[in-house]
């Protein structure tokens, strides 16, 4: 036994090191994700036996108006979230000055990022409150009345996504600050000699150097938008009348509230496919970026 061990330990020990993490991640995360695709081909209440229904869940989904509401809202989230990289860049540019006291201001900008999304949801619930919220304060100072954003079917998704934007901007800001730190000073100086200033400098000298960081900022923002769940659960529960659901939330509702786990799994699978397409695009971009660097 001990001879066997000694002869093989150069590969056995690393294998044993890798095993716990791999097994845990493999079963709880990866295998579970694949199992969801399998469940989506069944009718299942979550407790009893599964009944094979083939693609019936997907066929039903294609005719479900709620599915299209969710899909449309996912697109709205995505579009609104696309504001995060430019605003994050703007804030990063504003604070990128070495002045005494700037460091603490910088960290204060990051605070929304460390708050729980539940906290952000509760905070913005007050901002949007039509009776005494910040928004109402703002409107009444112009003599108007604030719209009840969270109970208006047309505005609700925009309002919730805008709240979700708050931490996302802070995230992009951190990334761009790291990018600005890594700028090539020689190129900037050369640009200055050539008379590039302000906007032109940003456009032609700075932004090209930030392209990799910008790519990452866009990627994490897309993922953030597709993952949106907490804010909706906390601020609207998908309402009013299901008008603010996204795929992630609709899936949760169908499974946990309606006990339609098969149908919920089908929605999750659609979300999964969208995410896979995006991850492929992202990895492809990363590989290209790495090749052009090498």
């Amino acid at each position: 036994m001990s001879r066997l061990w000694r002869r093989n330990r150069h590969w056995l020990t690393p294998a044993l090191f890798l095993l716990p993490g791999l097994v845990l991640f493999g079963t709880v995360i990866l295998a579970a994700s694949i199992e969801t695709v399998w469940i989506s081909l069944h009718d299942w209440d979550g407790i009893g036996a599964k009944t094979w229904v083939g693609l019936a869940n997907y066929i039903e989904l294609a005719d479900d108006p709620q599915f299209y509401v969710s899909l449309k809202n996912n697109v709205i989230w995505l579009l609104i979230f696309m504001l995060a990289p430019p605003i994050g860049l703007a804030l990063a540019l504003i604070v990128n000055q070495q002045i005494r006291g700037m460091r603490i201001l910088k960290s204060l900008f990051f605070v929304p990022l460390v708050l729980a999304t539940v906290t952000v949801g509760v905070v913005f619930g007050w901002v949007y409150d039509p009776n005494f919220g910040l928004l109402q304060l703002f409107f009444s100072s112009f003599g108007g009345t604030a719209p009840a954003l969270l109970s208006d079917e047309n505005f609700v998704t925009f309002a919730v996504a805008a709240a979700g934007l708050w931490p996302q901007i802070a995230f992009c800001m951190i990334l761009f600050l790291a990018g600005l730190n890594g700028l090539n000073d020689d190129l900037i100086a050369a640009g200055r000699v050539d008379g590039a200033r302000g906007w032109r400098m940003l456009r032609h000298v700075v932004l090209p150097q930030l392209s990799q960081v910008g790519f990452i900022a866009i990627a994490v923002t897309v993922i953030g938008a597709l993952r949106s769940f907490d804010m909706i659960a906390v601020m609207t529960s998908g309402g009013p009348y299901g008008s603010s659901t996204v795929l992630a939330y609709q899936m949760y509702q169908e499974s946990i509230f309606s006990y339609r786990f098969g149908y919920g799994a089908a929605i999750a699978t659609v979300l999964f496919v969208i995410m896979i397409a995006f991850i492929a695009w992202y990895l492809n971009g990363l590989i290209k970026a790495e090749r052009s660097n090498a």
Partner: protein, 283 residues
């Protein structure tokens, strides 16, 4: 540097600039400041409609005392600690091991395994929700703290492996060659070379994972239901439903929930920012 630095000797300009940025920060944090202000207001004032004026009476202590005594927030807070701390420790141990092997012992398929860790990390939580919930029910762990700890360790190991592998791969290779030349076993290499050198990475990872796990809401509501195991995030949302008109109490509870990650962030800010940018930039 871009934008062009404001010169050191332009004192007035620098002061004005700082003042301007301070104003932007105040606007930026206004929603949070409003909640903080509400958390020190008395109930009578809120009833009378004084939401935005300066509080006539400060009820800081009363409100927070009410949160501790009349709500289950203290219980939720303890649950959150019981969930978060073991999760962080578990993730640090597992990812040091996986990161070490994946960066220093290349074998057929090691890149594939690494890609699975990285890719799995981008998956939306909903895709694994049903089987994970089912698994915990079958293991008898549903509605226990263990369900959340196991899930969080598993999920965060993906990101943490990426993080630790990149960090260990960037360590000087001579150290590992020297260890091998001296006949050190993989375990000895781990103990005497890797562990002492990865401390800064572990600090950064610990604060990130702490924040991720502490702030989780989705898994809290999927894997638990009773107050005895619920973390603060799920507890706060329940509280909001129960105390609909007592905004001052809900505000105080909100600040209470936000406090640990914010304090951790300010204590270990450099690690947090470095970790986040390293994880993202190298990912």
């Amino acid at each position: 540097m871009y934008p062009r630095p404001i010169p050191e000797n332009a004192k007035v300009q620098r002061a004005l600039y700082l003042g301007g940025v301070t104003l932007v920060v105040i606007l930026w944090l206004l929603p949070l400041l409003a909640v903080m202000l509400t958390s020190i207001r008395s109930n009578e004032e809120l009833m009378a409609g004084n939401y935005w004026g300066w509080p006539q009476k400060f009820s800081l202590i009363e409100n927070y005392k009410a949160v501790f005594e009349q709500t289950a927030m203290l219980r939720f807070f303890l649950n959150s600690l019981l969930i978060t701390i073991p999760s962080v420790i578990g993730v640090l141990i597992l990812s040091t091991l996986t990161g070490f092997v994946l960066s220093r012992y290349p074998f057929r398929g090691s890149n594939l395994i690494f890609a699975l860790f990285v890719g799995g990390n981008f998956l939306p939580a909903q895709i694994m929700m049903i089987p994970v919930r089912d698994l915990m029910v079958r293991l008898g762990l549903y509605d226990t703290i263990y369900a959340l700890v196991i899930f969080h360790i598993a999920f965060q190991t993906g990101f943490a492996t990426l993080f630790m592998r990149n960090f260990i791969a960037a360590l000087p290779g001579e150290l590992f060659q020297a260890a091998r030349a001296e006949g050190a076993s993989p375990f000895q290499t781990l103990r005497h070379v890797v562990v002492p050198l990865v401390r800064p990475a572990l600090a950064a990872l610990a604060i990130l994972v702490f924040t991720f796990v502490w702030n989780d809401y989705f898994w809290a509501i999927v894997l638990t239901q009773s107050d005895a195991v619920k973390p603060v995030t799920a507890g706060l949302n329940n509280l909001r439903g129960e105390w609909t008109s007592a905004w001052n109490i809900v505000s105080a509870a909100t600040i209470f929930v936000a406090l640990p990650p914010v304090v951790m962030f300010f204590m270990m800010q450099k690690h947090f920012v470095a970790g986040l940018t390293m994880g993202a930039v190298k990912g």
